[in-house]
Symmetry: C2
Subunit: 299 residues, 2 copies
Amino acid sequence: MDLREFRVFLAIAERGSLSGAARRLRVSQPAVSQTVAALEQQVGVELLERSSTGVRLTEAGVVLAGEARAVLARYEQALSAVGRFALSADTRLRVGVPLELPPGLLPSAFAALAGSHPRTRTEVRHLTSAAQLDALRDGDLELGLLRSHPMDSDFDAMLVVEEPLGVLLSASDQRSDSAGVRLEKLAGLDWLAFARADSPPWFDEVNAVLRSHGVDPGPAVPPGQFLIAEVKFAAVSSGQAFAFAPRDWSQPLPAGVLWTPLVGSPLIRRTWATWPADSRRRDLAALIAHLDPLDPPAA
Amino acid sequence: MDLREFRVFLAIAERGSLSGAARRLRVSQPAVSQTVAALEQQVGVELLERSSTGVRLTEAGVVLAGEARAVLARYEQALSAVGRFALSADTRLRVGVPLELPPGLLPSAFAALAGSHPRTRTEVRHLTSAAQLDALRDGDLELGLLRSHPMDSDFDAMLVVEEPLGVLLSASDQRSDSAGVRLEKLAGLDWLAFARADSPPWFDEVNAVLRSHGVDPGPAVPPGQFLIAEVKFAAVSSGQAFAFAPRDWSQPLPAGVLWTPLVGSPLIRRTWATWPADSRRRDLAALIAHLDPLDPPAA
DNA sequence: GGGGGCCGATAAGGAGGGCTTATGGCGGAC
DNA sequence: GTCCGCCATAAGCCCTCCTTATCGGCCCCC
């Protein structure tokens, strides 16, 4: 008697497999299996032809998929119909973001949000992970993008991005080969770091990896102070230092600085969307859905 | 995220009160209160103006009520769209009924069922309560109308009718006054009974009530043997016996026989719709819904 | 004007649906 | 032949939603 079954069934129909639908819906495969079985029993018809390679919709399944889409669309319409009565105090959506987010991530999510919730105005605030957590707790932020899982039951979190980090090195550096550079080869260079207080768990992870590969972290950086790109580039091109960076760097590298992958990808920078667990805002939920890497808006 | 909230909200809208909706939905009043509160939080708008006399829809509530009706209608349409693929083996619905059901109950429910499930063919079988239970257990019946609650977790049951019984007495009988007849005045007459085995709990209840009022039950009747109305009438008009009967007797009484209410309504004959708890048949569910005295099809 | 009755809100406890992990059978790919 | 990915099933747990119990507010009626 509910729309959950329709959503699951549509995920199956679009992915062509129960396992795929389970991944997309972020639930386990048996949950999907049980749900669609219950749906089939309710309507009294087989909806799927199972095989060991996946599933195909039966004739009845094709019909129901169309119907289910219509029902869900009508449901969304119903909710948005009363949305215009909603208090306007809620239409500001404040999002905290760290430096160096994959280009395109926020613009596409915001664009999708503008379509479904045209009255929501998004505000972006560049903040460190620690500052975002504080702001979320104080109600000064509706959504954060953190460099570590909040580890706090007051918050829900979803992994949004995983970026294997490479390093920025001087173009004249000889440490790398065609496969990239080995982390231990970086011993002797300074790491262009950030302050531990800005994101302790992530800082500690990087430090632990560096130490285990015999690399000493460079000089400490005061909290809240970031090295702007030009400063990093200057230090790197001098051959004295290196910096970590994802492959998809948002700006062009100057001559004299090269990005090189790390052999074995020992460092993966993760970004978690984080929001108060008790939030019921629908525009927030929609934005989160659009950030979901397993539920691409393109689908 | 589901239709349950819509159903609850519509029940509120139609009844104009949370308590009324709760009765109609057969849940407690706090359940309704919580559900609609959750719905309001989701849409971010007050849907109801509460008062101590009931509730009224707000402007947003009126809009949502219309939308919710549309969504539910679309949902029903989706389920019935695949219904035509359902196996045809399921289209026979066998219903067991006792003697002396309120006139109109089954015809109106069957008519409503024919509208929503035109492919379902209903079959009525006159059976005693005990025989119906056996048939339900054997899969020979989809629905029973019993004179007692099945008291068995294999079955679900819903109270369908409550009939305060009066008595059929000879027109020349002097025992009654304007308020009716007192049960203890019937001592000395024979009760035109039915066999205990046909419906033990109900038989025992009647017997206990009779005995506590000093009335001796009359001669036993063999199981499965019912006295046809004409025989009852003959025995009653002779002045030797009485029979219990509801006010809404299905056939006209002959001259010489009068129906008289019992002072204090010491006997209330209840009829329970009873079906296998594991049944998922949608046509059965629809028929049960149409039998629901708290959810009149007229609404 | 005070008490009873009905309204809806809230708190606290319990049952069940839906999730999880663990495991098994099956078929295709290498 | 072995391995891997598919889906189904089993058993256990958690969270949602229900329950009962209780409260404050308002109306009505005496």
